[in-house]
Every structure is written in structure tokens, then in C-alpha cells.
């Protein structure tokens, strides 16, 4: 009896050590910037995600029933107001289209460089990450729909994030609210650069902004185009708090994202032919870095 118990205990200890070792190696290797999934993981995520999708769409259908049939009081009043608003917006669109045409002409005149044409892939949010530590959302479009890893994701309001993990039919987006997502941002009014990083469920922070920059509350922050992930000029949010300490060379800027993540239902993924080229560039840079470090280790020996 005692012998069996000892054998069990030894077996348990050996298994514990093996599992702990594998897990520690896994922690060291884990990257929260981008993740390549194995075919097995692809298969399982693609099996579970449709269930998440159907739960979400069932809930949407129920709420749509309540919104469109039961809460229809005052609809004619709303209709009148909306019609007048549409007319107003049509006027604005006309004015803006004139500005866009003028902008195009001036850009051509200045030979501003080739704009990359982005294809927009529309997707629906099907789920959020299972851990509240990460602000990640799952969408119902994947590799087969033309989505690629690290493609930027936007809405009409502004920047959502980029594609972190991808399967054939679903993708996970690392949003700008997540601390692992770092975007090179530009303050529109003063053209000051900084790194926008997720902070909590409602705010992001902009780091490394020089103390001398005259930033004010309400300033718009947009993507700068640096970093090879996001195109320039996408609205990230607006400045909602500024902290200037009596020491140091930078100021801490808090940003309220332009996108209302609490009500996010549809997003657009920006995909371009340039994505593949970008990836090849990154891979080439990584390989160069690996070769350099190998040479350095060799020479130090």
C-alpha cells in the first residue's frame, strides 16, 4: 500500500515538474504583439467561434425585436427630425466632396507620393476575450475572407486596433484599449508625436510627449503612419487629461478613444496588397537582427 502511494507521489511530482517546465518555457516565449496559430488551434477556434457568433446574433435579434416593434412610440416625430437632419448632412457631403476633389488635385500637384489603396472588409463582433486583463474582440472574418495578421481595424468613428490572431473564418483584434497595443500617435493641432498605449477599459495614454508641446484638452489624436501597421490619419481619440509633473522632460496625456467600445458591433478591416510586402520587410529585418546577434555571440566567444 505504502509502495503504491510512494509511486503515485513520485509520478505526480515528475508530472508537476514537466508541466511547470513546459509552462515556464511557454510564458517566456509568449508574445502579446502577434500570435500565429497552429492548424489544431485553428480548427478548435473555428469550431467554438460559430457558437459564440450564434449566441451574439440571437441576442441581437431579441434586442432588435424589442427596439423595432415594442419601443416604437414617438417614431413619427423621430422620422421628421431625422429627415431634416438628412437634408442638412446632404449639404455637408456636397461641401466635403468639393474639398476632397480639391485635396486630390493639390496632392497630385505636389506629387505627394502613392497612396496605398485599402480594401475594406466588413465584419461583425462575435465575442470578447475570456479574460478581463485583455481588451480583445473576436470578429467573424478570417484568412479566407482576405484578412491578414496585423491588418488595421477601424469603424466610422476611428481606430479599433489590429489583427492579433487569425484563423480561416475568425480573427481576434487587439484593441487600442489593451496595454500591449502601442500606436505611434500624432496630435493633430500641434503635430506632436507620442506612443498611444491602452490603459483601462475606457482610456488610453499617450507617452513620451515632450513637456514643451502646448497640448490642450480636447485635442484630436490620430495615427502618424509610423510603425508599419496603421495608415496615417486615422482618428484615435481626443485628449481628456494632461499631467505635467514639476520634473521630467515628458508629459502624460490621457486619451478617450473615438470608438465607443461598449457599443461596438461592426468593424472594417483595412487590407491591402502592401500587407504582404510589409510582412516580408519585417521578416527580413528579424532575420538580419538574428544574424547580427549570432555574429556578436560568436565574436565574443
Amino acid at each position: 500500500m505504502r509502495l503504491i502511494e510512494d509511486r503515485e507521489r513520485r509520478q505526480r511530482a515528475v508530472l508537476n515538474v514537466i508541466v511547470l517546465l513546459i509552462s515556464f518555457i511557454g510564458v517566456a516565449k509568449r508574445s502579446y504583439v502577434v500570435e500565429q496559430t497552429s492548424p489544431f488551434e485553428n480548427l478548435l477556434i473555428d469550431s467554438f467561434a460559430p457558437v459564440q457568433d450564434s449566441v451574439t446574433s440571437f441576442r441581437s435579434r431579441v434586442s432588435s425585436f424589442f427596439d423595432h416593434y415594442l419601443m416604437n412610440i414617438g417614431a413619427s416625430k423621430d422620422n421628421y427630425l431625422l429627415k431634416s437632419k438628412v437634408k442638412e448632412l446632404e449639404n455637408q457631403i456636397y461641401k466635403l466632396s468639393e474639398v476632397a476633389r480639391e485635396n486630390k488635385r493639390l496632392k497630385r500637384l505636389l506629387q505627394f507620393g502613392d497612396e496605398i489603396a485599402y480594401k475594406k472588409i466588413l465584419a461583425q463582433v462575435v465575442a470578447w476575450d475570456a479574460s478581463s486583463d485583455f481588451r480583445v474582440i473576436r470578429i467573424n472574418k478570417g484568412l479566407k475572407d482576405g484578412v491578414s495578421l496585423q491588418s488595421p481595424v477601424i469603424t466610422s468613428q476611428g481606430l479599433v486596433g489590429y489583427i492579433y490572431r487569425l484563423t480561416d473564418h475568425f480573427a481576434d483584434i487587439l484593441t487600442v484599449l489593451d496595454g500591449n497595443n502601442r500606436v505611434d500617435g500624432l496630435i493633430k493641432r500641434v503635430r506632436a508625436h507620442g506612443i498611444v498605449e491602452g490603459f483601462n477599459n475606457e482610456k488610453s495614454i499617450m507617452k513620451y510627449v515632450s513637456r514643451a508641446e502646448p497640448i490642450i484638452l480636447g485635442d484630436i489624436v490620430m495615427t502618424s503612419g509610423l510603425g508599419n501597421i496603421y495608415p496615417k490619419g486615422i482618428n484615435i481619440g481626443s485628449v481628456s487629461k494632461i499631467e505635467r509633473e514639476s520634473y521630467g522632460i515628458t508629459q502624460k496625456v490621457e486619451i478617450t478613444p473615438a470608438v465607443d467600445f461598449g457599443r461596438l458591433e461592426e468593424v472594417a478591416i483595412l487590407s491591402s496588397e502592401g500587407d504582404e510586402q510589409k510582412r516580408r520587410e519585417w521578416n527580413a529585418l528579424d532575420e538580419m537582427e538574428d544574424n547580427d546577434s549570432a555574429v556578436n555571440i560568436g565574436s565574443s566567444r
Partner: protein
């Protein structure tokens, strides 16, 4: 020993099914109802159950499988949870004579204590990896309500899992030596 492993497969399959259903509720249903800030980590409760109740040498493997399934629903991966779970199992192994989940209050208390231990281990790992304390402080304020909720539902959950794993006495898997 072989028979012990075979007896584990069926209840493990049902537990995994429960985990998948709970993860779907937590990731798809609750956020759509407006619960964006908090997420209920049901995987923690299942891993704690494995540590507290099962007396099989394969606890670390079971924890690994549970955490791996959880990683399909979260980008946090399986590694940190597996480390916390296995370390907690080792701690429980030393304290097993003191731990008796005889009443609901005791179960709530024990589950809450081990969730604190879980949080501490994960925070140390996060700190070693990310070198950031602000993240841990922010995580702590989310951990409090989430863990209290889990502790409160723990007695109900444990009774269901006891039926699945056919545990009659305190901490003994039926048929095990």
C-alpha cells in the same frame, strides 16, 4: 493506474464541455448585455476544484488541458494559469489535512483564499514579463469583484462537479486507491 486514467477521461470530457459553455456565456452573452469591464474566469474555479478535490497523479495534466481549452477564448494563453494551478495544487497537497470543505461558508472562504494565491502568482509572472506595476494594481481592482462572485457560486459549482467526478467523501475520487 491505467484504470485510474481511463476513469478520468469521461468526467474530464464533461468538465471541458461545461468550461466551453461557460466561456461562451462569459465571452459572447455577458459582453453583449453590457458587462464589458468584468469577465468571470470560470477556468480558475474549475482548476481550483481539480486541486482541492481530485487525488489523481494527473492533476497537472488535467489543469494543462483545462487551461489549453481556455486559451481558445483568450489571448492570455494557457501558460500562466497552468503554472498557478500546479503551484496551488502543490500548496493544497501540503495543507490537505487542514482543508475540509464541509460547509458552504468554508468553501467560499477557501476558494477566495486560493484565488488570492492565484492572483499573486500570476501578478509575479506578469511583473517578471512586463515589468509593470500599474498593470497589476489595475488588475487587482477587477480581480476583487470577479473573485468574490466566483467564491459565492463555488459551493453550487462544486456540488455539480462532485456529481460529475463521482466524489462521495471529502477529497477522494471514487475508486482511487
Amino acid at each position: 493506474m491505467k484504470g485510474d486514467m481511463i476513469r478520468t477521461i469521461r468526467p474530464l470530457g464533461i468538465t471541458l464541455l461545461i468550461l466551453v459553455v461557460l466561456e461562451i456565456i462569459s465571452t459572447a452573452l455577458l459582453p453583449m448585455m453590457g458587462f464589458i469591464k468584468y469577465r468571470i474566469p470560470f477556468n480558475v474555479l474549475l482548476v481550483l476544484y481539480v486541486g482541492l478535490k481530485l487525488e489523481t497523479p494527473y492533476t497537472s495534466i488535467i489543469i494543462l488541458i483545462l487551461q489549453y481549452t481556455h486559451s481558445f477564448f483568450s489571448i492570455e494563453g494557457w501558460e500562466m494559469g497552468t503554472i498557478s494551478g500546479v503551484l496551488i495544487c502543490i500548496v493544497i497537497g501540503y495543507l490537505k489535512d487542514l482543508l475540509h470543505l464541509t460547509s458552504n461558508v468554508m468553501t467560499v472562504f477557501v476558494v477566495q483564499m486560493f484565488q488570492f494565491l492565484w492572483f499573486t502568482i500570476v501578478s509575479i509572472l506578469v511583473y517578471l514579463k512586463e515589468d509593470s506595476l500599474t498593470y497589476i494594481v489595475e488588475k487587482f481592482w477587477r480581480f476583487l469583484p470577479e473573485s468574490i462572485f466566483l467564491s459565492l457560486i463555488a459551493p453550487f459549482f462544486i456540488s455539480i462537479l462532485d456529481t460529475i467526478w463521482q466524489i462521495r467523501e471529502d477529497r477522494v475520487l471514487e475508486g482511487s486507491i
